[in-house]
């Protein structure tokens, strides 16, 4: 009996060791899955103010060919404290990451964000142009 138990335990151990070491899915430096998708674009863009309410006057205009995003914000918006939100195509990611509020007040030098495709091969840099409604 004792022999069987030890054999069973050994088998389990081997199975465990084997299953944990098999690594067939590639991940990137953020631990995100690298897939086969090569699509690389921004599908939606949102800007939130300090109260987490939108500051856009209308939908953002996203040009995926020219890689530009044009947003018109309300008069008097505090451009130093805006929270951008990107919707990206499946599996894509953004660089740099958005970790908090962003200062968009330098209108002459628009902020740039790079979209990286699912296979991590395609990179497209979007410029965000903000205009304030008068």
């Amino acid at each position: 009996m004792k022999k069987y138990i030890s054999i069973a335990a050994l088998l389990m151990l081997v199975a465990l060791a084997w299953s944990s070491c098999s690594k067939d899915k590639p991940v990137d430096e953020d631990g995100l899955l690298i897939t086969t998708r090569a699509e690389c674009y921004v599908s939606n863009f949102e800007l939130l103010g300090a109260d987490f309410q939108t500051v856009r006057t209308k939908n953002a205009v996203i040009d995926t060919t020219a890689c530009t995003i044009n947003v018109e914000v309300f008069y008097g918006t505090d451009l130093k404290n805006l929270w951008p939100q990107f919707s990206l195509v499946t599996d894509a990611k953004l660089d740099p990451k958005i970790t908090g509020k962003v200062d968009f007040s330098d209108l002459a030098n628009p902020k740039q964000y790079t979209v990286v495709s699912g296979n991590r091969q395609v990179r497209k840099t979007y410029k965000i142009f903000i205009t304030v409604k008068q």
Binding site: G49, A50, D51, F52, Q53, T57, F74, Y75, G76, D78, K80, N81, K101, K133
Partner: protein, 327 residues
Amino acid sequence: MSVKYYQYTAALFALLLSVAACKDKEYAIPEPNGGLGNDVIKRSLGPNLVGQKIEFAYAMALPADKGKLESATVEASIAGAPTTYLEHRSFYTNASGNDVGVEVGAPSVNKDNTTSVSFTRDTMAATLRYFYVVPEEARGKTVNFKFSAKASNGETVSYSMGPYNVSTMDMKLDLKVVDNAACYISIADMAVYTAAEAAAQPDKIDLVYVFRTPTNYLHSILSPGADPQYLPGVTLPAGVNKVTKLVRAWNLRDQQLARLQFGVFIDDLDFQKQGFEDAANLALNLKEEAGLWIETADGKYKAYLFINSVSNTGKTATISIKRYTAK
């Protein structure tokens, strides 16, 4: 180790488990103690503010054959404001959900830090409400309550409640701001002034309320020191130029300020934690139920301003303020 020990251990565990699992007490209706009994609940919710009421309901009863209630007394560790009272009516809720009072005693008497009611009716059971109006002395302290009742057979019972913290913040409700009239808001005084009054005390003016018809402006609250392009047609009185920090908030409908159905309360701690590092100095196009975190230019006060209502035709807004002294 031999197999036998394992077996013993397992058996012991099983035994322990079964003992623990079987402890399932049956509920029993509590037995009355046969004499005078009492109970208290606190009815008011949220931070306890100076000048506001803390409400309790004190219930007391004894069997009819043992005697009747003689008096009810509440002793507070800090004497309440003179308007503190203990109801001399016992309430019940009728079929329509209204509270109906039945007079059972003489109006309460405040003496030092006790409030008491003497029963005038032959009563064996009563629930009296106690309204403690928080005095200035209690600011930032804790307060305890001892409720006691006395019956005609000499029996007494008591019930202790507390401690309850009293917040250091102040509150002012329903200030009306009017465009181009009473539009200068002072956080230091928690008051609204006209241009003439503001000119007399420019150092106390922290904010200005402006209404303009463009749909992207409407009801706005700005620092007097904000960029003049955002103060169209506003002539500030001489010396009114402070740059007050403002952070917009939404969906933060403090129950005490808004008096709406939301169980959200802002207390001292929220002011302590609220940062103003990235604050703006103006907030345009404010809607009803919007809020503003405020820090005065000298950093002395932090405040939360809530917009209770706005009127485009009247060019007015009603605001309520909670203010915390930071320094």
